[in-house]
Amino acid sequence: MKKYLNRLSSTGKYLLLYGTLLVFAALFFFPFYYMFVIASHPRATMFSTPPNLWFGGALWDNVHQLLFEQNQIPYLLNYFNSVAIALLTVVTTVFFCTMGGFALAKYDFRFKNFIFFFILATMAFPPFLNIIPFYRMMAAFGWINKWRALIVPGMANALGIFLMRQFLEESIPRDLLDAARIDGLNEFHILMRVVFPLAKPAMGVLAIIVFVGQWNNFLGAFILLPGIRRTTLPVALNTLNAVSYGEFGMVYAGTALTILPLLLVFFFASRQFISGLTAGSIKG
């Protein structure tokens, strides 16, 4: 009898666990679902009571309105800007951070430890600390509305160098580097032909972190790329949202199209994304 009760309560716990997690999963996913619901409704049924919970038939109309019937933002151009800036940031950042991480992982040199801790210590400064003079400096450089303003300052950043150092420390044997030197490769060749190919997994992790960060970067684009034709999706969507009195269908369609590609890639490569995006916290 006691055994039976135990088993019952254990099944109960099991159901309770599943139930709770299911409710949470639904709560977390609901906003995404709801975004597509709104994006598919025409203005006429947008504000019905009770609120719409199922798709309407106007998704294409809303997309059409977003792309061709409004002149607030050049959505496709902003899309192109976002993709280009994010990719350029990924390529440059991964390059410079792998280089820096390699130096700290595989060479012995004077002040190495000091340099490493100095780089780590710079992470303690919040970006808001110098943002006002930083902006004035960018303006003095003439970099406002130039993509490089968003790309160059963070190209060799502390988190990236730290992550690459941790990875390269373990994954590249020094013997291999010495063998390459005996074969007549100089240090730059070693970096390009030995380190880069071997560091691909870590470079992928850093690429995910950098891409997601830049794709979602609102503040940077807001102050450095104020021109609507030069700017990225977060700023453009914010502008559209602010001026589109009641035209939610178009705004939500624009938001959905912004999120969807990243969300799909995330679902297909969720293991890499989740471990990558938390790597900075878990390895630290």
Partner: protein, 306 residues
Amino acid sequence: MKTKTTLWESIGFNQKLAPYIFVSPFFILFVIFGMYPLVYSIYMSFFDMRLVGNRGFVGLSNYTRLFTTDAFFAKSLINTSLLLIFGSILQHVFAIPLAIGVNSKRLKARHLFKTLVFAPYITSAVATVIIFGMVFDHNHGVLNYLLETVLQIEGGFRWTTQGGPIKAAISIMLNWRFIGFNMVIYLAGLQGIPDELYESAEIDGASTFQMHRLITIPMLMPIIFFALTLSIIGGFQLFDEPFILMGGYETIGGPDQGGLTVAYYLMFLGFANGRLGRGAAVAWVLFLIILLFTFINRKVTNRLQR
């Protein structure tokens, strides 16, 4: 056969020089884009710097007026603290039990659940505010509809036009976006707790709740404090969500400054109001507050690890 060694090659073969060259981009960029504006912002904070020019040295008055006559700064500190508690720290109250639940050995589809809860983390603040716009809408939103029909609260709340509800709305968005991230950090921590501890506790007849209270939480303590530190550092710098939800500089934090955070206020001072010196002073006060909390957390964590 080599005939001539170029300068590039002779540098390239210099094993002593190479590491300095490899880390040099960081230092070059840091000096230009990090350190120079940093030092300049200290300087600015002691002057009455305006958009159009420098009106001279004012000593500490940019700092002192923040704590004496500046009602907006006081308001922004209160708002930031409330959002820190309900937006940033509350996440952990959800994230830890969720992580324990997801870590349960009997759970199937663990990864699917992780994926669903983590997904909001890759969504931008702008998209989050837009998506939640129709959730929080005063007249047509889902939330007010539920409040009216289920809880019988007539008219619901004015989520974007009243001080308290504004902070609640921002907190809900922050919880949505970051609980999954924290849950994953805790899951990594849970996997480091040896199974033997639970097995011996089970033999001693401990209930599930007791096991988590007496084993899981104490073992997780260093990670809890680490994750809390991250959240607190991020929480003090909260800008995107309130700024976007409240419609930017013009409203200075929305009705009754209900969404004005410290970072929002410093951006307002520096970018819309043309008071660069005062903005810089706010930035340094913010930095000192963050430093203080980081220091306290480190002390506590060190004590826990001993």
